[in-house]
């Protein structure tokens, strides 16, 4: 079932602005792939109206975790959701990060809450991924302990220098010695994604980015989540959220 009820197991803060939500589907649902997302219904009234999209962070036998940042109306209400509450969920939705060929070294680049989208990928890549991870400051570096155990290399930057290299993730990337064996997987704020894409195109690197756009249906019906690509408008919820770096028209 792609539309199901789920019970909240845990909904706890992991930083001032970030929460970790664990829920157990109350029906059989497909196994999610890295990069896919769920649409989560919030509250029992018509306000907020639309479900909110969140990436799969991890999947265990009976439960799914997502990591979310408090942004606006929906996530502010979401953080009040108590253990035991039953929610409506759709998913897993969208395409997924293509698994790298043997010859490639996956180079994951995550900015801020973008880590939520690539964490599951890092896990699936079983210690093969190199991760560049940037955040505003030490306290916004999320899931660090778990992450360390999953990756080959972890490089960190913070805007305020409170941890790792001081600077943006683009600074970190510029310093990193990329080569054509590196296959990029990037998720983060729009500006960062764009800079990573330009970097990749310039250096002739291949790779994928995960995009965000306002969504209504989440299943390709409303045409609301379009982004411009070389092949015309594509739907983030259907042809995405993962796109080939070279296809996006900025």
């Amino acid at each position: 079932m792609l539309h199901f009820k789920a019970e909240i197991k845990e909904n706890i803060p992991v930083s001032k602005n970030h929460y970790l939500l664990t829920f157990t589907p109350l029906a059989k649902t497909p196994v999610p792939l890295p990069g896919q997302f769920y649409m989560i219904g919030i509250g029992n009234s018509c306000d907020p109206l639309l479900k909110r999209p969140f990436s799969i962070l991890t999947k265990s036998d009976d439960s799914i975790r997502i990591l979310y940042r408090i942004k606006g109306k929906g996530t502010t209400l979401m953080k009040e959701m108590k253990t035991g509450t039953v929610i409506n969920v759709m998913g897993p939705l969208g395409n997924s990060y293509p698994i790298p060929k043997k010859k490639h070294t996956p180079l994951i680049i995550a900015g801020g809450i973008g880590i939520a989208s690539v964490f599951y990928l890092a896990e699936k890549l079983k210690g093969k991924a190199i991760v560049l991870y940037g955040a505003r400051g030490k306290h916004e570096l999320l899931m660090l302990d778990e992450l360390r155990g999953l990756v080959k290399e972890l490089h960190i930057s913070t805007d305020d220098g409170s941890y790792g290299k001081k600077g943006t993730i683009i600074d970190l990337l510029n310093e990193f010695h990329v080569n054509d064996k590196h296959l990029i997987y990037a998720c983060g704020p729009k500006g960062m994604i764009r800079a990573v894409s330009e970097f990749a195109l310039e250096k002739g690197l291949k790779g994928y980015i995960s995009l965000e756009e306002n969504m209504a249906c989440g299943i390709g019906a409303c045409m609301g989540c379009a982004v411009k690509t070389l092949k015309g408008y594509k739907r983030v919820c259907k042809e995405g959220p993962v796109f080939n770096i070279k296809d996006i028209l900025w």
């Binding site: 792609l2 018509c46 759709m90 249906c217 409303c222 045409m223 989540c225 379009a226 408008y233």
Partner: protein, 307 residues
């Protein structure tokens, strides 16, 4: 229990339809809804040639509603007939195609082609507020609308002809009457209401198109009023929509005079809304010992004003 309703010569097995643009081409919802169970599927607005639509952001949420300015992104007539139509034909439901042109001639060509392809119904979208040229001119003036409908009428011989009305007018009874007089088999309403959202952080409109169309529960009371006004004015069937989220809402529209209802934004919140609504209507009829859905249509009781 009889749930059948007639829209012109079209017999729907029940009054629950989908609203154009909110149900894709049917396929998208086939995982969630048994399409065979629906009264009719109304597909996304089709134009003569493919349209790429508006730049993003195209949608945003508002209190109990949403704005959209999709800009009628669609595959165009040819591809629709070839790729989309055959899929939906597999199901035992009626197919209504929503069409949009920027000239009378475009509407006529679209309608003829679809009539020839024997789609069950053609819904003229003369009310889309999200494209710069086109539709909009036809809905603001009832005489222009009447002329358009007359022309299209002449080229539609098999399909049921439905005119979809815009709520962005001073008096919705006027275009409804114009459509009826020009030979429409039914009217459907409401399309979205032109609206806008502003992002205080960026100081920009949220939608790239600046304005968009408001839909969802927020507009329900406006839609209900218009359906009530129109159904008391015209003698052709009215298809009611605007913020229908559940069976109760659907039944309210039918009491107000709608012969059938279309479910739009609700599909996004609950992808099986249409079938849930149908089930809810059945339960209501059973509980209230209503054997024929026609007992509900237009059954609103109005107190004597002097009571």
């Amino acid at each position: 229990m009889n749930l059948e309703v007639s829209i012109g010569k079209l017999r729907l097995k029940n009054p629950v339809m989908t609203a154009s643009g909110t149900f894709g081409y049917g396929e998208e919802y086939s995982d969630f809804v048994d399409l065979n169970s629906l009264g009719a599927v109304v597909v996304k607005g089709i134009s003569l040639t493919p349209m790429q639509g508006n730049p993003p952001p195209r949608i945003c949420e508002t209190p109990c509603g949403m704005l959209n300015a999709i800009g009628l992104q669609n595959v165009g007539l040819k591809k629709f007939l070839k790729e989309k139509l055959p899929y939906i034909r597999n199901f035992d439901t009626k197919l209504i195609v929503n069409i949009l042109g920027s000239t009378v001639n475009e509407y006529v060509r679209l309608a003829s082609a679809l009539d020839e392809a024997r789609v069950d119904g053609i819904e003229l979208n003369v009310s889309c507020p999200n494209v710069k040229k086109g539709g909009i001119a036809f809905c603001a003036d009832s005489r222009t609308l009447g002329r358009l409908v007359s022309k299209v009428r002449k080229s539609v011989n098999h399909s049921t002809l439905i005119v979809k009305l815009s709520p962005n007018v001073t008096d919705i009874k006027e275009p409804a009457k114009a459509a009826e007089e020009a030979g429409a088999d039914a009217v459907s309403l409401i399309n979205t209401i032109t609206a806008m959202a502003v992002d205080l952080k960026t100081r920009k409109p949220v939608l790239k198109n600046i304005t968009g169309g408001l839909s969802g529960p927020a507009v329900k009371p406006i839609a209900l009023r218009m359906v009530w006004e129109v159904s008391r004015t015209v003698n052709i069937p009215v298809i009611g929509m605007g913020g229908i989220m559940n069976a109760e809402d659907a039944l309210e529209f039918m009491l107000a005079g709608a012969t059938a209802v279309a479910v739009g934004t609700a599909n996004f919140i609950n992808p099986s809304s249409t079938s849930d609504i149908l089930e809810g209507i059945k339960i209501y009829m059973k509980e209230n010992k209503i054997n024929d859905i026609s007992e509900i249509i237009g059954g609103l009781l109005i107190d004597n004003p002097d009571d």
